[in-house]
Amino acid sequence: MRRIAISPPLAAVLLAILLFLLSGLLPNGFGSNVDIATAQATNILRLSVFLGVIAAGQTLVIMSGGEGIDLSAGAVVTLTAIITYSIVNGHNENVVPALLVVLVVGALVGLVNGMGVMFLKVAPLVMTLGMAGVVSGSILVLTQGSVRGSIAPIMTELIARPVFLGVPGAIIIWIIFGALMWLLLQRTTFGKNLFAIGTNRTTSRLSGVNVTGMVLGTYALAGMLAGLGGFLVVGNTGVVHIRIGDPFLFPSIAAVAVGGTLLSGGKGSYFGTMAGALVLTLITSLLTTMQMPESVRRIVLGATLLTMISVYGRQRGFRQ
């Protein structure tokens, strides 16, 4: 009963290619024109970057086990996008301070999530959903209904425009980011301990891993990455609105699932999530090309996640 060995990340990449080819067959798809197809592919890749970065934090939290999940990611993206927008306010020299501020803000929100989960034993989904409300509330407090500011030219240059051989900056950023994530997960004690606590927290504790510190750190890091996501998103769009992060939340979880990361924790890879982000961005843009309404987008996304859980997420029965 040996199954054909195909790793989930590879399956996700193949699915992405298949979806891309499918989209070419659509009446208003790229058809057989190679130039348009290349441009289309580049654009899809570029759009995947934002989801990919936001889903990175989601990957870490889910990997840490204990039903870990971060539903505050969408709200944090919105908050940090708005903060970036108002701090930068058109000045190149404000970009770095803005980036630092949003990373800190994201990390703080994540830390609160982690403390609720670890110290107060609130279920992660409930805790982070509650924090999503608090963050949304603080956005209203901060903006009082109107957002003033703008992004700086250098952000557009680096994120949205081609910087090297026609490749947009965002994609290059993503490649570097992916390498760093690999380094974090595979070549640091933090990464190894993350897999350990996601697999079995008792074994980890009895092997000397500081489980509490790891969980707090993971949620904080996830918040920080959502903050980075917000920074990149606003750098790409150039405008901001108070729902800008919401559409990323559900796909970020689905991307992790599609990428083959075990939803119960302890196993997975960021490459899988990258491929998953690509698949979900493709699905979304495919639906947009087909002029499908928001309702169909949600149904398809919901069904995608449900399918992935059914494939990867069965629990043990009572019978021994």
Partner: protein
Amino acid sequence: MPISLSAHNVVKRYGGVTALSDASLDIHSGEVLALIGANGSGKSTLSKIINGVVVLDGGQLLLDGKPVHFSSPQLAKNLGISTVFQEFSLVPQMSVAENIWLTREPLLRGPIVDQNATRRKTEELLALFAGMFKSKLTPDMPVAALPADEKQIIEILKAVSFNPRLLILDEATASLDSRQVQRLFELVTMWKQEGKAIVFVSHRMEEIFQVADRYSVLRNGKTVGDGFIKEVTTKALIDMMVQEAKVENVVQRDLPSAGSLEERKVRLEVKDLRAPSLNGVSFRLHEGELLGLGGLKGQGQHPLLIALFGDLPYSGTIVLDGLPVHFTHPSQAMKKGLALVPGERAREGLLLIRSILENFLVPSWREYGFPLRIGKARQKAEDMSTRLSLKMAGLDAPVSSLSGGNAQKVVIGKWLMRNPHLLILDDPTKGIDVRAKADFYQLLAQLCNGGKSVLLYSSDDEELIGLCDRVLVMHDGTIKSELIGGSLTRSNLVAASLGTSQEAEQ
């Protein structure tokens, strides 16, 4: 309705381990059969086979003379076989009455439960133990609010409420006090006269002699003797439980005499250690000593070991290499050269879905810098697996692909990679095969000869006797006796564990 149940030549294997190789048992209406055996002799497995919880791999089960196959515990229950479980089958949040009658609630009309009838029937059952409860026990009290002995009584009453033909009492007296035990025995006598058959599994000799009519002795999964209680002595029973033949596979070591032990440096000194279910434990462990920890299961051995390793808050003094220490997290104990091989391999010792490599390295990643020098780590893991002669497909295979013995080697290996000088082992050979055990004993002997200290709890008495320099026998959260040199014999160990005094008879 009378009952007779026979098990013939029952075989049961778990993976590569044989729990029962040739077990037999006969029980009829109106008698009490004592099922006796040392730790790990297969008593629990045999009682789980006759109540349908475990399916047998070989042999035959006859109910009222006809072959029978229990596809589920429910079926056995419907045929009149009821068990008092060692692990509690009660829902803590629910009341006493709700728990006892769950799924068999008396109905008023339609689906409505007759609360009064439930309460009345519960009170009738509780009356069987009237006066035996510390406080007034009513049918409406939540089970979680009861002390352990009263929970055990509710468990017994739940089994009795089925009005079974055959009642299995598996260590049912373990948490009861003597008055409660006496009442239970009066009831057992009464049920016997009513025509029920009772299987009584217990470690306590005096209880067996008081209540049982017949006995059946298990040793290493084999039935080695049966007969009438009236025709046997305690000593004869213990001799039957204990294997006369020389134990193989246990490494011969030069056992130090008591004098030479005392001359060595003290590595660990524990004074009046207290924690939940630890009532003041004191002992010393020397350099190069292999100190055994014995006794019946659940007498405080596990809490003692994890308290030493910083995983259980405690009061008392622990002195390590002359310096007082108080660990509050295992990582602190590790830094001082301690290592713990936990008892529940899958639940506490392994990261099942991760690779063998990562399992070897969980405690020591920090030593490999940033970025982690994976090559060096892999080399060390490779060396360790060679040293332990680990049979594996490769270091990247998931640890779940290993057999029990090899998986346990990984758990030990991950600590040996840190070169600890005090190894704490919690029943490390449970469920591993003979070959792996032999390797393991060899390894422990090497470590001790190299000056390391080992504290070993084992549920296998043969192991303690064949391997250890000294054995401390625990009972009820304290150290009951110390066996060393000439006094370290099987009979003494069994007698000390069972709470009878073997020396007195000799």
